[in-house]
């Protein structure tokens, strides 16, 4: 519901590439960042190389291996239709990452644009936009996502859109609050006095100072997006069968609870990726704090 307190004080504009290199180095050398990056890199490799890594087809039914326990032939066992759970988890990574990246990317784009404009323009525009964002923020994420899915219908693209809409107000609120601080700082006032256009000021002076907080928030939004996507699929309102999705695999596994592996391994995959996003967010925030400390 609430936007995490990750606002940072404005810093003078630095060569961006240098700042990002410092930031990345700090993130990668902290244990949280190293863990987060490693797990996410591993998941990306799984997602991209699913065709090469998965030993079986994720959708081929094998009636001779129904609910087979984990073994050397089926590392994570098989489900109620004899499908290899390891292969489905690997292909599920592709679906989950696709949804999370697209949803967070869309939310970031929309939220940052709304936040920058609202904060910079101020006045009635700001009031109107922020009241609308407040109204959306009053909805619990999952409840809003469910309402949107109810309209659009359950499928992969709609799940992406629904999650993106639920995450947009958070980005907008965060960016707007940062802009309100930065727009009164001397170097921005100087740019205004020198006759710089609004677009130039926003792109050259405001955005670089907001980007850090947006990255931290984006990382946390990634974990929330994954949980929301899994919950939607779990409820039967996200990715539809036979496409493998971690959430729907857990839901199916619930009906075969004596075969624990059906829901255990997809859940473990969600757990590790959510943990990775959370730790990466923590590491980014710590790295930003340290960067600010230097100034």
């Amino acid at each position: 519901m609430s936007t995490p307190n990750i606002a940072v004080s404005p810093v003078p504009v630095q060569p961006l590439t240098r700042l990002w290199v410092i930031l990345l180095r700090r993130v990668a050398t902290s244990w949280q960042g190293a863990f987060g990056l490693t797990v996410l890199a591993f998941t990306i490799v799984l997602a991209l190389g699913a065709n090469l890594i998965a030993p079986h087809s994720p959708i081929d039914i094998n009636m001779d291996a129904i609910l087979a326990a984990p073994s050397s032939a089926y590392w994570f066992g098989t489900d109620e239709l004899g499908r290899d759970i390891f292969s489905r988890v690997v292909f599920g990574a592709r679906i989950s990452l696709q949804i999370v990246l697209a949803a967070v990317g869309l939310a970031l784009l929309a939220g940052v644009t709304i936040g920058l404009l609202s904060g910079w323009l101020g006045g009635r525009w700001d009031t109107a936009i922020m009241r609308a964002m407040d109204a959306l923020l009053a909805f619990p994420f999952l409840v809003l996502a469910l309402a949107i899915i109810a309209i659009l219908g359950p499928d992969l693209t709609n799940a992406m859109l629904a999650i993106a809409i639920t995450k947009t107000p958070g980005f907008a609120r965060l960016v707007r609050s940062e802009v309100l601080t930065i727009k009164h700082v001397d170097f921005v006032k100087a740019s205004v006095a020198l006759g710089a256009t609004d677009l130039r000021i926003i792109v050259r002076h405001i955005w670089p100072n907001v980007a850090g907080s947006v990255i931290v928030f984006g990382s946390l939004a990634g974990s929330q997006a994954l949980v929301t996507e899994s919950a939607l699929s779990f409820l039967g309102l996200g990715v539809q069968p036979p496409t493998p999705s971690w959430g729907s695999m857990i839901a199916t596994g619930m009906d075969y609870s004596s075969s624990w592996w059906c829901s255990f391994f997809p859940g473990l995959a969600i757990f590790f990726v959510v943990l990775a996003f959370n730790l990466l967010g923590d590491a980014c925030r710590d790295a930003l704090d340290a960067r600010l400390g230097e100034h």
Binding site: M1, S2, R131, A132, D134, A135, L136, A138, F139, P140, F141, L142, V143, L146, A147, I148, I149, A150, I151, G153, S223, V227, S230, A231, F234, L235, G236, L237, G247, I250, A251, G253, M254, S257, S258, W260, S263, F264, G267, I270, F271, F272, V274, L275, N278, L279
Partner: protein
């Protein structure tokens, strides 16, 4: 305080109106003909026209919105398209289940999170602190529905200590009710406990470094008296805020948890409403959940301002 309350109420009124408009727009954009839900697919065009008129579906959207708002303000949320039951009565049947689940989850979270946060703060930097922090990180990353299934597998199927699912009203059988609510409450409560633990630890560490704590120690008070009377009393104010602000997440978690444990609560009603395209039911459930979030946030703000007079709303 009264001026603060009035100012906050006026802000909230705008948000409530916008929320109502959002809910109305969302649910009225549902694809498909609502008369199919009411009459089935075999009904004739005439029957559909009559049903549309009876349910006011033939009126323009703004007229329907104003009518819906007026009715909602008097507690009339329309009738279910599927069962023709008043939505307000359906809500009244379901709300106690969700509220009980939410209250028990908060209780579980406080019972686990508060002592864990105090222990972690008192033993800062020790192995115990690291252990508690790892447990908190882990429980935050576990999705509710997976946690619920793991608990069912362990406590209901493997150990046979508790029933796996179902609901019995508290007044009918208090023991039966609680044995069925323990696992759902643990499912939501453990993740929430991690947030309370983190906040308690951070607040307590901050408070215990203040000058007045040093003065209390200098007066010769025992460490436990300093901790309880001076430390915790102040450290708990932000913890209360965290509890209040997370009510939305708790209610969102209840939607999934009720499905896992077959609890007849608001969340399950909403999911069933979505599958059945029963928009008055969806509207009613969402409206109640969102109003709950808004009211609890307001109460949290007021409580915060009352506990700490330096805060202005």
């Amino acid at each position: 305080m009264v001026r603060m309350l009035l100012s906050r109420l006026s802000q909230i009124a705008t948000v409530v109106l916008l929320v109502c408009a959002t809910i109305f727009v969302l649910t009225n954009m549902l694809p498909g003909d609502p008369t199919v839900t009411i009459l089935g697919e075999q009904a004739s065009a005439e029957q559909r026209a009559i049903a549309r008129e009876q349910h006011g579906l033939d009126l323009p959207a703004p007229v329907r919105f104003v009518r819906w708002l007026k009715n909602a303000a008097t507690g009339d949320l329309g009738r279910s398209l599927r069962s023709n039951e008043p939505v307000a009565r359906m809500l009244a049947d379901r709300i106690p289940v969700t509220l009980e689940l939410t209250a028990l989850s908060i209780l579980v979270a406080i019972v686990i999170g508060l002592p864990a946060g105090i222990i972690a703060a008192r033993a800062r930097g020790s192995f115990l602190d690291v252990l508690v922090s790892i447990a908190a990180m882990t429980s935050v990353a576990i999705p509710y529905f997976w946690m619920g299934i793991l608990l069912i597998m362990l406590f209901a199927l493997k150990l046979s200590w508790l029933p796996p699912s179902g609901y019995i009203p508290f007044l009918t059988d208090p023991i039966g009710n609680l044995t069925r609510m323990i696992l759902p409450a643990l499912t939501i409560g453990t993740a929430f406990a991690a947030l309370i633990m983190r906040q308690t630890r951070a607040s307590l560490l901050q408070v215990m470094s203040q000058d007045y704590i040093r003065s209390a120690r200098a007066k010769g008070l025992s460490e436990s008296a300093v901790l309880i009377r001076h430390g915790l009393r102040n450290a708990l104010i932000p913890v209360l805020t965290v509890i209040g602000l997370q009510i939305g997440a708790l209610l969102g978690g209840a939607v999934v948890t009720e499905t896992v444990f077959s609890l007849p609560g608001l969340g399950r009603m909403m999911v069933e409403g979505i599958f059945q395209r029963d928009f008055p039911v969806i509207q009613g459930a969402i409206l109640f959940i969102v109003l709950c979030v808004i009211v609890v946030n307001l109460l949290t703000d007021l409580l915060y301002a009352w506990l700490d007079p330096r805060i202005s709303l």
